[in-house]
């Protein structure tokens, strides 16, 4: 069916909804504790540093460095069968948290740990935007 998005969707975790809402607005955000300032990702119901439940979402710069990357030759979901080989990368945001993503446009030439990256936003469906990364 044309336009039907059949890849895995966000889990529906209520703590993560603000992340996905902001992604649709092309904003990358992490959770920040109002009480102690700890920034963490993926989000949780309380701050892992001080257990406060007063937490906010803070837009980050989108600047990151590359920590690692892999290339999937196996499709664990049927919906990825036409994509293999596809990449995944591990990035460290300038603000601290690390996250899994993909390269937009494939593994960059000369990829190496420490490579500066910046976020781009991939509107993969009308409902879902995936933050991905390219060389800065």
């Amino acid at each position: 069916m044309l336009g039907h998005y059949d890849k895995p969707l966000p889990s529906g975790d209520p703590d993560a909804r603000p992340f996905w809402q902001r992604a649709r607005e092309h904003r990358l955000a992490v959770q920040r504790c109002d009480a102690c300032g700890d920034r963490h990702f993926p989000p949780g119901p309380v701050c892992p540093a001080c257990l406060s439940d007063r937490q906010s979402w803070e837009d980050v710069s989108g600047r990151a460095t590359l920590l690692s990357w892999v290339l999937f030759h196996r499709a664990y979901w049927v919906s990825f069968r036409d994509d293999v080989p596809y990449d995944a990368c591990l990035v460290k945001l300038e603000e601290g948290p690390i996250l899994i993503s993909n390269f937009a446009g494939g593994i960059p030439e000369g990829a190496r740990a420490g490579m500066p990256l910046r976020v781009v936003f991939d509107d993969v469906s009308p409902e879902l935007t995936l933050p991905r990364f390219v060389p800065a």
């Binding site: 890849k7 895995p8 969707l9 966000p10 889990s11 975790d13 993560a16 990702f41 993926p42 892992p48 920590l67 690692s68 990357w69 892999v70 290339l71 999937f72 030759h73 196996r74 664990y76 979901w77 990825f80 994509d83 080989p85 596809y86 995944a88 591990l90 690390i98 899994i100 993503s101 993909n102 190496r112 740990a113 879902l128 995936l130």
Partner: protein, 377 residues
């Protein structure tokens, strides 16, 4: 002595071990395999099965059904989740229960039917936050870590191949092993990529089978059929703060492995240079490199060069996974490695026997890292 667990040194013994055949058994249930392994372990130690008053089940779906099948009414029962890290954890928990008197004889039963039931270890089976990016499976997490090790320390896939090649050589000496065709470093390099930089031969097998261990206190152990194997030391450290990416740690659980190892060495009164054989959890080959560094068999970042030239092979510096491990013997999630430790210390290993084997160490480097040091009773 600051660690109160040191009081357990040499107080708990493994007295019986058993395993099924390993392979693809679509017509046998996990309970059926568990029962076979239990019967085999009971025969191994000569205990009346009705003396079993402690039961640990791992990957067996339901402890009560297992107990019903075996005709057991324990007074201490523990159900563990189906994760490889649970084998070492279960043995430590059983030791604590025996030491307190909560049970006198504990049977630990593990059964896996993942091969015949086509378990994938990724995708829809294990939903996680990172699914929308297509990132899934423990293998991918280890591929991510190994790339970091390559980038940080210059480790190569040919060095990594040494792990798979050593364990395959051991499996060829092991009658029960699933994979017995010879493997060279070039064979490893030519195997198909699964999640690069890892290839097929960096991945554990998925096969059916079951394992059982029977533990009791050292004083009770003397009355049983075979010489006891003593638990001389153990150590533990979990790492949950950085577990947002399942099965991944940006420092390869270095601090946790070092900590668990130091606890185990101090309790047993030995060090890495005293270890005659290492049983190292090898869900994926990089885990072995991480374990060697964490335990101090080599310097941090130097595991790649340490394993070069067959270091882990029988007859060389550190015989490791002498049964072939998860990569070539059987995917028994750490349980079969603990059985192999016992058999090595009993001198039951035939062609793959480590000469004068007196000290064997088990380690699982994972979000729950455990190490156990076994010695001859």
């Amino acid at each position: 002595m600051s660690n109160p667990l040191h009081a357990l040194k040499n107080q708990i013994a493994v007295v019986g071990v058993g395993n099924t055949a390993y392979g693809n058994f679509p017509d046998v249930s996990d309970y059926g395999l568990g029962a076979q392994a239990f019967r085999s372990a009971i025969q191994d130690c000569g205990l009346d099965k009705n003396e079993i008053d402690g039961l640990v089940c791992c990957r067996v779906p339901y402890y009560a059904r297992m107990g019903e099948i075996l005709g057991l009414d324990p007074r201490w029962t523990l159900q563990m989740p189906p994760h490889g890290r649970m084998s070492g954890m279960s043995i430590v928990e059983a030791a604590l229960a025996l030491h307190t008197g909560a049970a006198k004889y504990v049977a630990l039963i593990y059964a896996n039917i993942g091969r015949s039931r086509r378990v994938n270890y990724g995708g829809e089976e294990s939903a996680a936050f990172w699914d929308p990016w297509g990132f899934t499976s423990p293998g991918a997490a280890h591929a991510m870590m190994f790339r970091m090790h390559m980038e940080r320390y210059g480790t190569t896939t040919r060095q990594l191949a040494e792990v798979s090649v050593a364990f395959r050589r051991h499996a060829m000496l092991q009658p029960d092993a699933v994979m017995k065709t010879p493997m060279s470093i070039d064979d490893h390099e030519a195997s198909r990529p699964i999640v690069e930089p890892l290839r097929l031969f960096d991945y554990c097998l998925i096969n059916d089978g079951a394992v059982c261990l029977i533990l009791t206190t050292a004083d009770r152990a003397r009355d049983l059929k075979k010489p006891p194997v003593l638990i001389s030391g153990f150590g533990a450290r979990d790492a949950f703060r950085r577990s947002a990416i399942p099965n991944f740690d940006p420092d390869f659980w270095y601090a946790e492995t070092r900590d668990a190892g130091e606890q185990a060495y101090a309790m047993a009164g030995v060090g890495p240079s005293d270890v005659d054989a290492l049983m190292c959890y090898d869900n994926f080959s990089p885990t072995v490199l991480f374990s060697l560094e964490g335990l101090g068999f080599c310097q941090r970042g130097e595991a790649g060069s340490f394993v070069e030239g067959g270091t882990l092979q029988l007859g060389n510096r550190l015989p490791t996974n002498t049964d072939g491990g998860h990569l070539s013997n059987s995917y028994m999630q750490g349980w079969a490695l603990n059985v192999e430790a016992v058999r090595q210390l009993r001198g039951e290993c035939g062609e793959r026997q480590v000469p004068d084997c007196e000290i064997v160490q088990y380690v699982a480097t994972a979000p729950c890292t455990r190490s156990i040091i076994y010695t001859r009773g």
